[in-house]
């Protein structure tokens, strides 16, 4: 037989006997013969493990691993060795959503820890552990704003990464919500534009910090304007950066959302990542996804359990405020183990090293004369520059030297032609940065 099927001929015979059948076909007799599939699938034949490994190694060789010098939603941060060992434990890897808390305290405990850490990082009260990625978490935040305000229009800053914007627009279109654009000034969300756009149709306002250009936007006055308008203030941001920059909570935002990929998850061609979504306690019943709470068992032992389930699809069906059924648990475990290892000091140091490297690279690139500043705004680990050189040529040159960088923002939006992104994390040494600069400086 086959290694994943334990049935021997004797087993099959005995099992059929118990069912009183001679042929397993008998079990399928209700299926109309007109639609029965009676042939082999037109797919390859079974590969042995030896053949399979060779095949996958061949496919692996068709990908080019590069030294990464760009970000834009996927960051090449250090992944401590410990993470992989813990997330590979079958108790975490192969279990399902913790429906039976008596035999799921492992999962429930780390989800509670995750909720605690992410709430603290974002400066909010509550977190779920159920978002697929940053863009879909942002779309869920939009739905929350609709549910909280009963309004149908959402304002999104044009400094939000277009990959987030397009997911938000897709979700909005089919739900019957309208997306309006908040026009930026000098690469940042602008308060005058906000004043002009706010009216009693606006459910919420979505901004991103650091934004699409890497800029740490200033939100002075935003929360008051938005709250005076009874709208919901939503800040998207790379979670790692929140180890040092002002939190959504400190901005008096209502919802924080974004991606957790930067917390120990490999870039891995875009997934799986983990979205985060946190809010104030008053909005917890509008929150999508699974939430874990502390309780006690019969013997008064502290325990954890999924709670507030009356919000969710399996109870509320069409009246649920979201269709989320997943719990991105395993990725929440990546983030939790990462944050445990790094602690407040490590997270800060990651940001300091990234900041230092990025600012050094920025100055060195300007000094080559091949790049010019686009905005004069503060940034953290990624930034954009304008170049008069052909961007394809730059990318090809870097690629030939094993480097991925200078992503063209023009690929996202035509108005940003020849504006390129660079990102530096703690993984990039001074020598590597100098190498990049010398490659770019030699171009003409």
């Amino acid at each position: 037989m086959f290694k994943y099927f334990p049935h021997t001929e004797a087993d099959l015979t005995q099992m059929k006997q118990s069912l009183g059948i001679k042929n397993t076909e008998r079990m399928f007799q209700v299926i109309p013969s007109a639609v029965r599939f009676n042939q082999d699938y037109n797919i390859p034949s079974s590969l042995s493990e030896i053949e399979l490994r060779k095949h996958m190694e061949e496919l692996g060789k068709l990908n080019q691993s590069k030294m990464i010098f760009s970000g834009l939603g996927a960051y090449d941060h250090y992944e401590p060795s410990v993470i992989n060992h813990i997330v590979s434990r079958q108790e975490f890897l192969t279990s399902y959503t913790p429906y039976q808390p008596e035999i799921s305290q492992g999962t429930l405990t780390y989800i509670f820890e995750y909720q605690s850490m992410i709430s603290s990082l974002t400066g909010m009260d509550v977190s779920n552990a159920s978002m697929y990625d940053g863009p879909t978490a942002t779309a869920e935040a939009m739905f929350m704003a609709e549910a909280i305000t009963k309004r149908k229009k959402i304002l999104v800053s044009d400094t939000v990464n277009p990959n987030i914007m397009s997911v938000v627009k897709t979700y909005a279109k089919y739900k019957g919500l309208e997306v309006d654009i908040l026009i930026s000034k000098d690469g940042s969300a602008n308060i005058e534009s906000l004043k002009n756009k706010l009216d009693d149709t606006i459910a919420g306002v979505i901004v991103q910090r650091p934004n699409f250009f890497g800029i740490i936007e200033n939100y002075d006055g935003f929360s008051k304007l938005i709250h005076d308008n009874d709208s919901v203030f939503i800040i998207n941001g790379d979670i790692s950066a929140l180890g040092v920059i002002k939190t959504p909570g400190e901005e008096d935002a209502d919802i924080a959302c974004g991606d957790c990929q930067s917390l120990g998850m490999p870039v891995a061609f875009g997934g799986p990542y983990l979205g985060y979504l946190t809010t104030k306690k008053q909005h917890v019943r509008k929150m999508p996804g699974r939430i874990c709470g502390q309780s006690f068992d019969r013997n008064h032992v502290r325990s954890f359990v999924l709670t507030l389930q009356a919000r969710e699809q399996h109870i509320r069906r069409e009246k649920a405020n979201s269709n989320i059924c997943s719990n991105q648990s395993l990725l929440a475990l990546y983030a939790t183990v990462y944050l445990s290892l790094m602690g407040p000091k490590g997270l800060k140091q990651v940001n300091e090293l990234s900041y230092t490297g990025a600012h050094y690279l920025y100055d060195q690139l300007i000094a080559t004369g091949k790049f010019k500043p686009v905005f004069n705004k503060p940034f953290l680990k990624e930034f954009v520059l304008h170049t008069h050189l052909n961007v394809e040529m730059i990318q090809k040159h870097l690629s030939d030297h094993g480097i991925f960088g200078a992503v063209n923002l023009g690929d996202f939006d035509e108005k940003y032609q020849n504006v390129v992104n660079f990102c530096v994390t703690e993984k990039r040494s001074k020598a590597e940065i100098n190498h990049l600069v010398s490659l770019l400086g030699g171009l003409s």
Partner: protein, 488 residues
């Protein structure tokens, strides 16, 4: 370390660290030179622990979990089959993990080929034309599929179709996804046999119906014998057929959704194609469509020209539903699984999983109520104990099973019965495992009569006993900060 019950925060000691980072070789730059108004004031409440502290903490709490490798996990509707180790090994390869999602197609030909070949194999397996692998989970696939349904009607200029038909036996995600997609729901009741009531369906159909969502076999594990007629009726009324692929495992080698008349479907790769459930995620929910719906698939799509694979953006597409290209390392595992099984073995899955479910069914009919007679598909549903005179409920049965080292089946779903017990053994379980499970179930049924009090208090041997769920909902202690506040 017996009865270890700390939170990571409780073993934190100020000054301890669990990381090493390089020293900065660059001087003259300092993060603190950023305007103070842009920096966070409060230090984040993260633990300070050593590397061994972290390892021991998570190892200890992992011991309180039950995985597929721990024991039998017959959780109905979730297809908890074995998650092969080779899939994990491949998914850990550097050649897949180190690729940035924005790298050029020339850098990612191996991955794009896997995407393309997997979508084409899924098309063959399900009888559809093309797949997107971008949706992140089953419910996300449902939403994506419904967007495609809506877009199809809109682009035909048919704006009246605002309703979606969903049977009352459907998974909760079906109506929830339809609502999120801006549809109204028409719920139709099942027949006493648990299948679609054709008369009710006819009455529900009109030119306002965009389509119907159906799981087949349905959530009772019953094949919809009238499927050809159902598809015909919905199509005749101008609607599309959506297939919820949650129960696809039953159909491998038996019948293809496309051949049954379905136009759109999602597949839960974490069920049928063996990718690990990870405590609830990450999943992956590819969506397949018939040829006439291909233009509406989400962007980007992956196409092939002269052996070169590339990202393709279609103007008629619903737009994008994910930041990048879905859960790559999940669909990578599914690809490895299909290549391992190949055509010879994949076609056995439906038959063996169905045989296993029916074997369990016939052996428990004496002790448990079987509301729907006859052969089931890959799972069987009981409506509680036959003898409920002692007041022992399905919940008690489920909890007692934990004492015997078995994961509980899905309980209280489907909602059609009051005491539902939904058992899905999957094809990777042996007759010996099923025999032990049957024996345990019979024993528990006996205990329900002989010692109902003990049953009410079960489980007795698990890391914790039954939890006070009301306390959790009432107190809303959702973070360690809340916990400290409650206990100060």
């Amino acid at each position: 370390m017996k009865n270890y019950d700390h939170l990571i925060f409780e073993i934190s000691v100020p000054g301890r660290v669990g990381f090493t980072l390089p020293n900065s070789e660059i001087s003259g730059y300092n993060l603190s030179s950023l305007d103070a108004s842009l920096l966070r004031k409060e230090v984040p409440a993260l633990p300070e622990v050593s590397e061994l502290d972290v390892i021991r903490h998570y190892t200890n709490i992992s011991h309180k979990n039950f995985g597929v490798e721990t024991g039998f996990y017959p959780l109905g509707s979730c297809t908890m089959k074995y998650n092969p180790k080779i899939n994990e090994e491949i998914a850990a390869m550097k050649a897949f993990n180190s690729i940035h999602p924005l790298q050029k197609a020339s850098d990612t030909q191996g991955i794009l080929r896997i995407y393309y070949e997997l979508q084409s194999m899924l098309s063959e397996i399900s009888g559809l034309h093309s797949y997107t692998l971008n949706p992140f989970a089953g419910a996300h696939g449902e939403l994506t599929g419904l967007m495609i349904m809506k877009e199809y009607h809109l682009q035909r200029g048919d704006f009246k179709r605002t309703k979606v038909i969903v049977p009352d036996s459907a998974h909760g995600t079906n109506p929830a996804s339809a609502t999120i997609c801006g549809f109204d729901i028409i719920e139709i009741e099942s027949t006493p046999e648990g299948t679609v009531d054709l008369e009710q369906l006819k009455a529900a159909l009109s030119d306002e119906v965009a389509g119907m969502m159906l799981t087949n076999p349905n959530t009772l594990g019953i094949f919809e014998k009238d499927i050809i007629e159902i598809s015909r009726l919905v199509h005749e009324a101008g609607g599309l057929m959506y297939y919820d692929g949650a129960n696809l495992n039953a159909l491998l080698g038996i019948v293809r959704p496309g051949d049954m008349g379905f136009d759109i479907m999602h597949i839960n790769l974490h069920k049928t194609f063996s990718t690990p459930h990870g405590g609830g995620g990450p999943g992956s929910g590819p969506v397949g469509v018939k040829e006439f719906l291909v233009p509406y698939l989400p962007n980007p799509q992956i196409n092939k020209l002269d052996n070169h694979y590339f990202l393709d953006w279609n103007k008629d597409s619903i737009g994008s539903v994910s930041g990048f290209y879905g859960n790559f390392k999940v669909w990578l595992r599914a690809y490895v699984y299909i290549m391992t099984l190949g055509k010879e073995n994949l076609r056995q899955v439906g038959c063996l999983s169905t045989l296993n479910a029916n074997y369990v069914r016939v052996h428990l009919e004496e002790e448990f109520n079987l509301p729907i007679k006859g052969f089931s598909m890959h799972e069987c549903v009981f409506d509680g104990l036959k003898d409920q005179s002692t007041g022992v409920t399905t919940l008690d049965v489920a909890k007692r099973l934990l004492d015997y080292g078995v994961h509980a089946p899905t309980i209280y779903f489907p909602l059609l019965f009051h005491q539902s017990i939904m058992i899905e053994p999957t094809e990777t379980e042996s007759k010996q495992t099923l025999d032990s499970f049957i024996e345990v179930m019979k024993k528990v049924a006996k205990e329900a009569i002989t010692d109902p009090q003990m049953m009410k208090l079960a489980p007795h041997t698990t890391p914790i006993s039954r939890i006070d769920e009301v306390y959790a909902a009432k107190k809303m202690i959702l973070t360690y900060k809340d916990y400290l506040k409650e206990n100060q």
